[in-house]
Symmetry: C2
Subunit: 118 residues, 2 copies
Amino acid sequence: MNSAPKHDVFQAIADPTRRKLLRLLADQEMPVTAISSHFPMSRTAVSKHLRVLAEAGLVKDKKIGRETRYHLQPEPLRELKDWLAYYERFWDNKLNLLKLLVEADDLDNIKPTGPKSL
Amino acid sequence: MNSAPKHDVFQAIADPTRRKLLRLLADQEMPVTAISSHFPMSRTAVSKHLRVLAEAGLVKDKKIGRETRYHLQPEPLRELKDWLAYYERFWDNKLNLLKLLVEADDLDNIKPTGPKSL
DNA sequence: ATAATATGAAACCATATGGTTTCAAGTTTG
DNA sequence: CAAACTTGAAACCATATGGTTTCATATTAT
């Protein structure tokens, strides 16, 4: 029941190895040994990275016989996207404005406070 | 001329204090002492965080008399945005498809490889 | 049953990180 | 000029992080 995540998404993606792991697991579901063959470090090191990703909710494991298969779980990336959204007004342009319009659930949510407000 | 950044964007935003700094400096340009008054740590600690942000290109400083004013420099966040873009196909939906259409420089760049390809 | 495979846990290590306090140096201000 | 202010650099410290090797356990294959 304690869903307090020890590692958050920001921390999880800070490491380049973990970003590569996410890419690798995006399309395929893979067991640890197969995964670790793509990295220049020990299997246990990869395993620890996988745990960090799992703690951040970015990856889920499924036990199949003696192997543990990992796969991407993209939902937590939404937090990143939301965080980024705040700053998108700073590289404001027409496409961006259109996106804001498209994405806004509520038209009142659109803040035309950018540098070149129209 | 050596523009090899010691800290990258992913690392820079991994720390919550630094994320708060970016928010603070998004709208205002502020000198170090004023900035540090918003944080429960020493001025020097804040100063070091500012340096990490500066090394990642997320913040720029400007010397005005005896004080150094910092302000946001959002461009490097684009790298984050681009990184995230890869994963957006995973929470594919109609709005997302529209965004892909809007954003694509080249129509051939649209990969309808999502779960529910239309 | 025994051997081989797949994995995680543990102990350990070097370096990075986030914080502190102290100090030196460049601006104002009186 | 002297005092006060603003800042960064340096030395230091505790803990986190990313890696290693070794060991125990569960599953599959012979």
